[in-house]
């Protein structure tokens, strides 16, 4: 399995580097003594240090040191060990693939030997999102906030930007179906035809998913419509590199006409684990309507604001892995962060549970991208809660605290899961899912300031 592959991998790939014999001589090298000392203690702090060393080595192109550290990591990591070991094995794989790549810039992300990604069925995906409250937390908080915000409206239009293939919506549809209003509230959900190339991957197109939602809504007597907004262009398959021209194109298509904003509808923009795929490097954009230098992420938020939604819900992972982070610090932050779901699984699933392994390998896929790539190919640009709040404020949004009912619902949800999951509410009104006290996922809600704000493109 992975262990075997891993055992073989470092040698042939790294042999393409300078000195293959160095591998076997690692022990005798100067730093070897330090490294072997590490082997005796396999705790997370040690692995973190190793990763830091490896990251620094790669940053400074010190191939020798990188090889040595990888050798040590190879002995430490294990795909079926404790969370730290398992995590380390994914990191090692990512580091190896990075180190062995000759010209990273010219290879597409998908073509770099990423194994065939597993495609799930909708039913499997439904189980997947409920394995741990990682996604369900965001779903619950957002849905409740949405219901609060659209109260009184006859029609709701939700622009759904997420990676979970509409798993969020059955509970919302169900909640709408339960409300005894007549005439019933009409719901319309729009998704983009493009989706970031990241797991979880589904084996049916989004249109099919939408069809199922339509049927479900019919079953619950909720008037429902599902739209797929074509945001095609240069990208036809998920497999190609997402280039900046694509983002330009994407942003140019996010306007009220294409999104089909109607004035009699309450527009909600739901951004779930999606914002992090928009590049956050500051570049001067071709779009001349934006003054100054902004990143795609900022422009996107501005566009959203111009749609005048009555609510924008953002859920994402609380970790800083954006454009500004160097490799070594990124590796360490990523390791400390990804430890959270790994540890969560450890508490209630056996070491060889297929669900756990699948989930972990999806995270491994992310790690591979975060650690193994740079520039445009590094699509996973996580942003912490604090930075996002500042970004939203800069884009002209004000935060809408979650209501008491929402907080209660989320708490009740977490009560039903393992006891390590908790929640905290920060001073800005955001909710943060915590595992053993560590921040995992945050959820927030915003509304844009008055529309005139955006027309002037000024910051309040």
């Amino acid at each position: 399995m992975k262990a075997d592959v891993r055992g073989k991998n470092p040698s042939p790939t790294i042999s393409s580097m300078q000195n293959p014999s160095l591998f076997t001589n690692s022990r005798s090298s100067i730093s070897g003594a330090v490294l072997t000392g590490c082997l005796s203690s396999l705790d997370g702090a040690c692995i973190e240090k190793l990763l830091l060393h490896c990251g620094s080595a790669l940053e400074s192109n010190d191939v020798t040191l990188a090889q040595q550290v990888m050798w040590v990591l190879n002995n430490v990591a294990s795909a079926v060990g404790d969370p730290n070991q398992r995590l380390a094995s994914y990191f090692l794989r990512a580091l190896v693939s990075r180190a062995s790549r000759v010209c990273p810039a010219t290879m597409s992300f998908k073509a770099a030997g990423i194994p065939h990604r597993r495609l799930m069925s909708v039913t499997e995906l439904a189980g997947y999102v409920d394995l741990i409250p990682w996604h369900r937390f965001g779903f619950c908080a957002s849905n409740n906030a949405i219901l609060d915000a659209v109260r009184g409206f006859r029609k709701i239009h939700i622009l759904d930007l997420s990676i979970t293939h509409c798993m969020q919506w059955p509970t919302l549809i169900d909640a709408l179906g339960k409300e005894p209003e007549c005439p019933p509230v009409e719901l319309r959900i729009s998704v983009l035809s493009w989706r970031p190339p990241t797991p979880p991957l589904l084996n049916i197109p989004i249109e099919k998913v939408g069809q199922r939602l339509v049927n479900f809504a019919r079953y619950r007597d909720v008037p429902f419509e599902f739209n797929v907004i074509k945001v095609g262009g240069p990208v036809e398959e998920e497999e190609t590199v997402v280039s900046s021209s694509f983002y330009d194109f994407l942003l140019s298509q996010l306007n009220a006409t294409i999104v089909k904003v109607n004035v009699d509808e309450a527009l909600v923009v739901n951004i779930q684990n999606w914002l992090r795929y928009l590049p956050d490097e500051e570049t001067s954009l071709s779009d001349s309507s934006c003054d100054g230098i902004m990143s795609y992420r900022d422009s996107f938020l501005e566009l959203v604001g111009r749609l005048s939604p009555c609510l924008v819900t953002v859920v994402d992972e609380d970790c800083d892995l954006g454009a500004q982070s160097g490799l070594a610090s990124r590796i360490v932050s990523c390791f400390n962060y990804m430890w959270i779901p790994f540890d969560a699984f450890e508490t209630f699933l056996p070491k060889d549970s297929p669900q756990r392994i699948e989930y972990e390998s999806d995270i491994g896929h992310k790690i591979e991208n975060i650690v193994g790539y740079e520039g445009a190919q590094r699509i996973e640009r996580l942003e912490s809660e604090g930075r996002l709040c500042r970004r939203m404020a800069a884009a002209g949004f004000m935060s809408v605290p979650f209501g008491e009912e929402t907080v209660k619902e989320v708490k009740a949800l977490l009560d039903e899961h393992a006891s390590g999951w908790g929640m905290k509410k920060d001073e800005e009104g955001m909710l943060v899912l915590t595992w053993k006290g560590h921040n995992a996922v945050y959820a927030g809600a915003w509304v844009p300031y008055a529309p005139a704000f955006h027309q002037n493109n000024l910051l309040v």
Partner: protein, 456 residues
Amino acid sequence: MVEMEISSPTRNGAKSEQLAEAAPPVKRRRNLPGMPDPDSEVIALSPKTLLATNRFVCEICSKGFQRDQNLQLHRRGHNLPWKLRQRTSKEVRKRVYVCPEATCVHHEPTRALGDLTGIKKHFCRKHGEKKYKCERCSKKYAVQSDCKAHMKTCGSREYRCDCGTLFSRRDSFITHRAFCDALALEISRPQPDIKGGGDVEPSPPPPAASSPPQPPLTPSTLVLSPVLSIQSSAGLPENHQTIHLQPPPSTAPTTTAAAVPSSSSASSSHIPPNGGVMPIMLNASTPPAFSSPAISLSLSSLFQSPSQNPPRSHYAAAHQPALSATALLQKAAQMGSTSSKSSLLHGLWLSGPTPSDSPTPDNDCIKLESSSLASGLGLSPGASGFTELMISPPTTLDFLGLGMPAGEAPSDGFSAFFSSIGGRLHHMPPPAAPFAPVRAAGDTWDEAQDRKPSML
């Protein structure tokens, strides 16, 4: 008779007030909660008083009691003289209580609750803190009796989907149910987005049939629509079909099932309606009685796709008597060893230009191509799936005598298939993307058949 006309209700919870007069009921009736008897006395208590545990106090020894009856029992023990034993006679008027919480709907005298215990519980439930917790599921309650009542049923409440999976949490149940195949509604396929090209309808005036609900069809739907159009006469329910059905135009209104392309004349054949035959594209909730003619129909219809789609090669339906499904398939394979077959594949999976070589039948490869074709169509028995062209019950395959086990590496069949075509396909995406669904789906279906996802 509860009359809601009130003479002069004051809105700030005065000590007591009179509601409008009405004839007192002859016998004791229960009023609807929150719609009190108009001539009842409205009492507004402060939260402290409401929740006070001992509201009834003995005047002799100042002992407090929760209930009036208990107080009376206690007073008997004091051996009071007769006069004092009687309670101050005051005409006992029915009392209703308002909720002290100002924002509450029951704060209005018109919505007062008639029972003191009731108002206490209401106040605690709605405006109070949840102090009582169920041990099993950690649900919290403000009223102890609620909690006790819950504990009786807790744990026994499980959500069961029609597919048999059990869930302990409602949200996971709802999410599963929304996407579960067992959802007992017909699921029709929405149209994927289109690439240019016209209809598959063979005749010169492309019938608007497939068009109205969806404008240009993707190749995959091009594949489908003929089948569906043929099936329409079978009386398929229309409302769920996003692929609209209509009989092909009258150019060749033959009722033959055959549609083997043998000449270049374009025509379509009207396949006789088959009761219970649903397009294979539709999903498992459709009746399982599914006969192979449907598949052959689809194949044959595919080959009917003529000049509407300029890049495609010409096929035509022959005016032949109905052939057996196996024969049809073989003929299709025969014809399809050419670029026409690659067009079929294009129709099935790809979008893009098709080579326009002239057909050269290749009898040697019939068997291989038949099975490849079948696998290309994704006929895996037992799959209760969603994807188009991938659904058929085992009987179909057996009927066709393809003898292909379920879900057996369809994409491998593809590779063989393509190689048999000799690489004439111009547009051949790497195996990773479009065919991955085939393979992976096949795998997952086999598992998904009788798999109950293990929930937390």
